[in-house]
């Protein structure tokens, strides 16, 4: 009885072009996680509030649970897996580790993508700008204190104290 249609889409994900038949109702986040096995992008809610699924869509920060996969047809997607190759961490990733900006690590991929979008647009953000940039990302472990510090440090400004 399923009347769900599907569509073939072409998406560039982390620099690789992918052709895929997806159901029209498939969420982008499930396409990334279940179809492409890019499991770094996470799901923490059903309502677009938590930001664990944040990715870059044509360079713009989006919540991938709020888009259908078919809306990504022709688009360029960057996920957390694009940030660094196997060994070397980026300064942002290294700063998250140095400043203990992650505990369970579940929100971390989304946080990193939000911070990446921020730092590309503004390489000297103030603390308030950092907090605004990650206000769409929920973390239940850290109270955000060390996440803010890490983003400050990665922006090249260093951290006071």
């Amino acid at each position: 009885m399923s009347t769900v249609g599907s569509k073939r889409i072409t998406v560039t994900v982390n620099g690789e072009e992918v052709d895929y038949d997806v159901e029209a109702r498939r969420l982008l986040v499930h396409f990334l996680r279940d179809d492409l096995d890019l499991t770094g992008t996470h799901v923490g809610c059903d309502t677009g509030n938590c930001g664990a699924c944040s990715v870059l869509y044509n360079g713009q920060l989006v919540k991938s649970c709020m888009l259908l996969a078919i809306q990504a047809d022709g688009a360029t997607i960057e996920t957390v897996e694009s940030l660094s190759a196997e060994e070397e961490l980026t300064p942002l990733q290294q700063a998250f580790s140095d400043h203990h900006a992650l505990q369970c690590g579940y929100c971390t991929p989304g946080m990193l993508m939000s911070a990446t979008a921020l730092l590309r647009a503004n390489d000297r953000p103030t603390e308030e700008q950092i907090r605004k940039a990650i206000q769409g990302n929920i973390c239940r472990c850290t109270g955000y204190v060390n996440i803010v510090k890490a983003i400050q440090a990665a922006s090249g400004q260093g951290v006071e104290g």
Partner: protein, 819 residues
């Protein structure tokens, strides 16, 4: 707008050389920042089916009929499970309570009746998440609604029963009476009476929802669960009898877990349904809880009402004791309960020296989500009571809350301190912590800040919260609820081995969810073996088949630094001794002549004579004929079970040592309230923590930040509110507002270290201590509102509209009488 401050005060009692006590890089971080962690939902199997639960839209109803036939007709649907099947294939989960709670029947799916919105009545398995959801819509359930019970005090009347088998909505009740309450009243100058205090429902809502991928092996009858259960030892004890199988047939596997906070302890009903489906359908099945389902039907923190609170106090503010009735609302099923009816007694007197305490405790079922342990489990509710009492007494008698605390705190020189019910506070200096908190928040300038706020039309309020995080349970406390239970003590396991190529491999029994166990275990091992934490490979997560766990294994109740690291230390010391024996055998020396350093075993007197660990591993595993006969028993694979030094409690007196360690938290808050609207800001915040020896200060600080953030959420916004029909009004992150980055106040942190005399490393469990924030905000609001009618702050969660309500209601519910 906000300012982040480094810790201003760190006082160390003793610094051990080595890696313990330093901020070594976390081993977990690299994979997690690269998106290469493995959470249960990342695990896939060929042909696996996705599970969706069909859930009750009613809070209370008879299930007349369940028809899955239309769902089964849908292409891509693999099968279903109903309550009728569950009733035939499984036994009810065992209950911990004495009657009436003992007679409650709790199954994996609703059998005959639903008892809360979200109660699962059937499960559907299909080839995709979306299809499973479609199919669930096709399951037809006929309900016959029953009156919903959403009020714990109404539930006590037993006019409507949730569980007919129990014959009462009461799960458990009992009176705890320590010291001489009547004598305290006679000795008192004043009795402060508080009509009602209400600790609201909330939960830590881990960002990763619950779930599992379950495989069934038909040949061996074994189930493997790739999951995020945080207490597999107890989970298996619940599940195996229900499934009519043995413990070893249930294999729990975890790697990375996206937070748990206690909310992933009571997953046995869902997991039993998954086990039945995997067996019935002969295929792997996968269930990922939806956020809405976690909020409606997983596990909330306990809601608790305190009635008829009476406090006996001398005119100078010396507290003699208190009595009250406590009514705990555990929702539709007890599950881990009634353990919360005794867990609070770990901190019976809070931080204070009053000796006469009487609590009449009753736990009831209502038509709300079941509860489970939630960060600060049961102690948080009770400590909120004791702290509210302190500030209400100070307010009513015109005393300074700082002075009342210092007058009544257990003193550093009293440690170890035996409480009226036989618990032993191991170490601490509460007054010193308070002084540091006051300094951090600028308490000396309080009156100037008050005037400044007034000039802007705001009311400034100052509040303190001082709490204890009791860690490492003595499970013997369960026998104070039910003398028939055969639980006592505690245990945790670690295995440390030296492999053939010199790898040091550590296996834990614990189930980490972000606490950095891989890192801190490596620190302990490295210090003992004389190597770097980088040389120590700590397996990620938990696997029952590693045979490195015991009955109480898991990560809960603030105990890893004691039980987990105690086991790691014990196992590593055994391995060190074996390495020394091998080296001594090769050199023809005595083990005492051997030292371990720089990844080698060598003669202390002649460091040139050295065997690298790789050589030791190779000799024992692959070249052992060269060894003398008397060292051939060496395995280089050392398992150690850490057992804390507990005694059985006295069931008659409800007396005994219920936990091993007590970490201290003293928090202080400044709020500014708009008296016209009730809107308020937390303008400054300080948190001082003392968890004994800190293995990894950065991890401790992270726990303090996070626990504080959760408690600030619970103090200001987070509430699982129900309407009269039993509908949850906050079933997602839209309506249930957890703190976001812009919600957090500036955070100032301070630390002291009062080493525990009772633990292997002087460390204490910590991480659940954020409850202090709830008290600090309540006290600060009370202080702010004093000039506007001096209302009683009687709820734990105080969103702006509640503050506005206090302003409308004025003072009620509290009185002082001469004794």
């Amino acid at each position: 707008m906000t300012e982040v401050q480094e810790p201003l005060v760190v006082e160390e009692t003793e610094t051990k050389p080595g890696f313990v006590g330093t901020n070594v890089p976390r081993k977990e971080d690299k994979r997690l920042v690269q998106g290469q962690g493995v959470f249960f939902d990342d695990v896939k199997r060929h042909g696996m089916g996705y599970v969706h639960f069909v859930r009750s839209p009613y809070a209370h109803a008879k299930v007349v009929h369940v028809d899955v036939s239309k769902a089964l007709e849908l292409g891509g649907v693999f099968g279903t499970l109903t309550g009728d099947e569950v009733a035939i294939l499984t036994d009810p989960f065992f209950e911990l309570s004495t009657p009436p709670g003992a007679h409650i029947k709790d199954y994996a799916l609703a059998v005959g009746r639903v008892r809360h919105v979200g109660d699962p009545v059937a499960a559907v398995v299909a080839s995709s998440r979306e299809l499973a959801r479609d199919a669930a819509e096709l399951v037809e359930v006929e309900y016959e609604p029953l009156p919903p019970l959403t009020d714990a005090e109404q539930a006590l009347e037993d006019e409507t029963l949730l569980h007919d088998d129990a014959g009462s909505n009461v799960v458990w009740s009992g009176v705890f009476d320590w010291g001489d309450w009547d004598g305290a009243k006679a000795e008192a100058d004043k009795i402060v009476k508080i009509d009602r205090l209400h600790f609201d429902r909330f939960s830590s809502t881990p960002l990763e929802c619950s779930g599992a991928l379950v495989e069934y092996n038909r040949g061996t009858g074994q189930w493997t669960m790739y999951c995020n259960h945080q207490m597999p030892g107890i989970g298996a004890i619940w599940m195996a009898p229900a499934l009519r199988t043995g413990l070893d047939k249930l294999r729990f596997v975890t790697q990375d877990i996206g937070g748990a906070f206690g909310n992933k302890i009571c997953l046995h009903p869902q997991f039993v349904a998954l086990c039945l489906l995997a067996r019935k359908l002969n295929r792997p099945v996968q269930w990922t809880e939806w956020r809405t389902d976690q909020h409606t039907a997983n596990a909330h923190g306990n809601e608790r009402i305190f009635r008829d609170v009476e406090v006996a106090v001398k005119a100078d503010g010396t507290l003699l004791g208190f009595s009250c009735r406590a009514i705990d609302d555990c929702g539709a099923f007890p599950r881990y309960e009634p353990l919360g009816c005794i867990i609070w007694a770990q901190v019976t007197p809070g931080c204070y020296r009053w000796r006469n305490i009487r609590v009449d405790f009753t736990q009831v079922c209502t038509n709300k989500s079941p509860v489970s342990p939630n960060r600060g489990y049961s102690r948080m509710q009770h400590l909120w009571l004791t702290e509210r009492i302190i500030d209400i007494v100070a307010n009513e008698l015109g005393l300074d809350p700082v002075d009342v605390r210092k007058r009544n705190y257990v003193r550093a020189e009293d440690m170890p301190y035996e409480t009226p019910n036989g618990c032993v506070y191991d170490s601490g200096d509460y007054a010193r912590c308070l002084d540091i908190a006051l300094e951090l928040i600028g308490h000396e300038g309080l009156e100037a800040k008050r005037r400044d706020a007034e000039s802007r039309g705001k009311l400034l309020g100052f509040g303190i919260g001082s709490t204890l995080d009791s860690g490492t349970n003595n499970f013997g406390q369960s026998t104070l609820l039910n003398p028939e239970l055969q639980f006592s003590g505690n245990n945790e396991v670690a295995t440390v081995k030296l492999d053939i190529f010199g790898e040091i491999v550590v296996t834990l029994g614990t189930v980490p969810q972000g606490q950095g166990h891989e890192t801190t275990a490596a620190q302990v091992v490295a210090d003992i073996l004389g190597c770097s934490p980088d040389d120590v490979h700590v397996r990620a997560g938990h696997d029952s088949y590693w045979n490195s766990h015991a009955g109480f294994s898991g990560t809960y109740a603030s105990q890893f630094a004691v039980t987990g690291l105690g086991a790691v230390k014990g196992a590593t010391e055994r391995l060190a001794e074996e390495i020394k024996r091998v080296a001594a055998g090769v050199f023809g020396a005595e083990p005492a002549d051997i030292e371990l350093a720089e990844g080698q075993a060598r003669l202390a007197a002649n460091p040139e004579a050295a065997i690298p660990f790789m050589g030791i591993g190779a000799i024992v595993n692959a070249n052992n004929a060269i060894l003398p006969e008397d060292v051939r028993d060496v395995t280089l694979n050392c398992r150690y079970v850490y057992v804390p030094p507990f005694q059985l409690p006295d069931k008659e007196r409800k007396f005994g040592n219920l936990t091993l360690t007590y970490a201290t938290q003293v928090h202080a808050a400044l709020v500014e309230v708009d008296p016209e609207t009730g809107v308020y800001d937390i303008v400054d915040y300080a948190a001082v923590d003392d968890c004994g020896k800190r293995i990894h200060p950065q991890i401790v600080e992270g726990q303090v930040h996070g626990a504080t953030a959760q408690a600030l959420g619970a103090a200001t916004h987070e509430i699982f509110a129900y309407d009269e029909e039993g509908n949850l009004l906050t079933p997602n992150f839209y309506d249930y507002h957890v703190p976001h980055a812009l919600d957090m106040p500036p955070m100032r942190n301070g630390y002291i270290e009062s080493a525990s005399p009772f633990t292997p490393l002087g460390a204490k469990g910590m991480g659940e201590g954020g409850g202090a924030a709830i008290h600090a905000i309540c006290a600060a609001l009370q202080d702010a509102l004093r000039p506007r009618g001096n209302p009683l702050v009687w709820r734990s969660c105080n969103p702006y509209h509640q503050v506005w309500q206090y302003l409308q209601d004025g003072k009620r519910g509290v009185e002082v009488v001469d004794a």
